[in-house]
């Protein structure tokens, strides 16, 4: 935490969840916090409910595959506060052997499909998700297409209706 200037939201997050926050930065004006995965639901509920934060919109969730690094995967949450007209980015690193994290659907119901998409594209498992199925690809699809080790030119049979 060597940042010269830490925004109120990040300061609050560090104050409340000091041990969970691995690092923060505000590069390019985007407040970002890298947190540990264990208490992600608590952290999200805090960000939604705290009077200074009020991040009532979960705008986006996605995975990133940093192939070759450990931990390999990253889950990125983009939140927006209607009250403060403010954004924050929360990131969580997940290892290759168990890319699992608790689902935040109880906090923001709208995040449901984003988590399904991250599961579909990267194979990240969201524990306690109400309906963790493929969303863009079809059920018979093998592998997770946005992983960096999935070749761009690989083709799989597209399945028609069963005979």
């Amino acid at each position: 935490m060597t940042d010269q200037r830490i925004s109120i939201v990040l300061a609050k997050l560090i104050e409340r969840f000091g041990g969970e926050v691995v690092s923060t930065h505000s590069d390019f004006g985007d407040d970002t916090a890298l947190v540990r995965r264990e208490r992600i639901v608590e952290i999200c509920a805090f960000l939604r409910d705290d009077a200074d934060c009020r991040f009532d919109f979960a705008m986006d969730l996605t995975g990133v595959d940093y192939l070759g690094e450990t931990p390999r995967f990253e889950v990125v949450y983009h939140l927006y506060s209607l009250k403060n007209r403010q954004r924050v980015r929360i990131k969580v690193r997940l290892g290759e052997e168990d890319p699992e994290i608790d689902s935040v659907v109880p906090v923001w119901p709208g995040i449901n499909w984003y988590e399904r998409e991250a599961y579909d594209m990267y194979g990240i498992i969201f524990r306690n998700h109400p309906n963790l199925k493929r969303i863009l690809m079809y059920d018979e699809f093998v592998g997770h297409p946005l992983r960096k080790d999935y070749p761009k030119t690989k083709r799989q049979p597209t399945l028609g209706p069963e005979e």
């Binding site: 986006d60 209607l82 980015r89 923001w108 709208g110 995040i111 761009k152």
Partner: protein
């Protein structure tokens, strides 16, 4: 209402005194206007349960982009929301510029505002027009199709050379400047095409009892539900939340214009229609102000790291020729980092999350399409209502499969 229906279903007290009927709608169905699919569980004509499905138009935008250079991604962005492709171009260019720390020229900012607002108008026209076709009001569709065609023929085609696959913006500016006489044409299209069409449709629909009774209370959503589901754009504003990034996080030069953000109350199909109609009028206000303030000067920044050198220089000087060669062969160099840049597209917040590791292209691009949460919210809007209301609601929510599936 949905809850009582589910209770009735559990108690085997359905209207039809029988098992619910499962009806498949789509993926190729005229009323979905895109490759969308619904699995509807029906009791008579009432929707007990609605399961939306999509992915039929998934073309792997993100995977392709990870293997392309920064400039090669621009044509891919056209294919996201193909009803207003210029807005996607603007959103992408702004995201990369944020990463590079580029401040584009004044003229370029005004051009981007203009093309965004023209796109917003034609997008809303398509949305309202097709929605009305589904409800049996075909005239409005033609009333809106003509000015949309005028916008394509007189403004977008002369500017970009294309109808839909515009690929107009570049990192650091635009493909080229406005053609001669474009400003007057733009003024003219607003005055003689857009405004009369809005007036005509307004006269046909806004106080039309049939239309109001058909749409009022159809597909409603409350303020809190809309926020929880992540709705943005006209659908959120129709529910009464005044969130518009043009006002709340003014980008480009939107803070220099005087315009209003219309909001509704019920979040139903009628409110969504009203909000879109008013937004078109406000967009015309913005266009008129932007045309009045339009500054001169170059469209592209003066930095050969991001912009191709002038052609005459390339032909006459060795430095410019080398720059040109390196630019074409290697593409632009973008510093490592990550940004999220959001713009107010016609359907709501269009966000680009870009990770760069300093390579020749993006390491990761995630598009946050405005349709994604809207389509997710369809069961919330429709369950407990009639099957025919599903079609009315779907049209008013304006799902574009291109950006939904990417």
């Amino acid at each position: 209402m949905a809850d009582t229906l589910i209770k009735r279903k559990a108690a085997r007290m359905l209207d039809m005194q029988a098992e619910p009927v499962i009806l498949n709608i789509g993926p190729s169905h005229p009323a979905t206007h895109a490759t969308l699919r619904f699995i509807a569980e029906l009791d008579g004509e009432t929707l007990l349960k609605l399961t939306p499905e999509f992915g039929y138009l998934h073309r792997g935008f993100e995977k392709e982009s990870e293997n392309a250079t920064w400039t090669q991604v621009i044509p891919y962005t056209d294919r996201l929301n193909y009803v207003s492709p210029l807005m996607n171009n603007v959103g992408y260019a702004m995201a990369v510029e944020k990463l590079c720390g580029i401040e584009i020229t004044e003229r370029s900012k005004y051009i981007r505002v203009l093309i965004s607002e023209i796109s917003r108008i034609i997008d809303h026209m398509v949305c309202i027009g097709t929605n009305m076709v589904d409800l049996g009001a075909l005239t409005n569709f033609w009333y809106f199709w003509k000015p949309r065609e005028e916008a394509y023929m007189q403004l977008i085609e002369p500017l970009t050379g294309q109808r839909l696959t515009t690929a107009y913006t570049r990192v650091g500016g635009a493909m080229w400047d406005l053609p001669e006489g474009w400003v007057e044409k733009c003024r003219n299209v607003c005055k003689t095409s857009f405004l009369p069409a809005i007036k005509d449709v307004n006269a046909l629909l806004t106080k039309n009892r049939i239309f109001i009774e058909r749409t009022m209370g159809v597909g409603p959503i409350s303020k809190n539900d809309a926020i929880a589901m992540g709705f943005t754009g006209p659908c959120l504003r129709a529910a009464g939340v005044p969130l518009d990034l043009r006002k709340d996080e003014p980008y480009l030069v939107y803070d220099r214009f005087d315009f209003d953000v219309p909001i509704g109350e019920q979040g139903d199909t009628c409110d969504r229609y009203m909000v879109r109609m008013e937004e078109m009028r406000q967009s015309i206000r913005i266009i008129e102000q932007a045309l009045d303030q339009m500054p001169g000067g170059p469209v592209n920044i003066d930095d050969t790291r991001y912009v191709l050198p002038d052609k005459p220089l390339v032909y006459t000087t060795i430095e410019a020729l080398m720059q040109h060669f390196k630019f074409v062969m290697e593409g632009i160099q973008v510093p490592a980092g990550e940004v999220y840049s959001a713009t107010e597209a016609a359907n709501g917040e269009l966000g680009y999350y870009i990770v760069s590791r300093g390579g020749k292209g993006p390491y990761k691009i995630k598009v946050r399409p405005p349709c994604f949460p809207l389509f997710q919210g369809m069961p919330l809007l429709c369950e407990g209502q009639m099957l025919a209301d599903l079609i009315a609601t779907l049209g008013s929510v304006n799902i574009i499969a291109g950006e939904l599936d990417r």
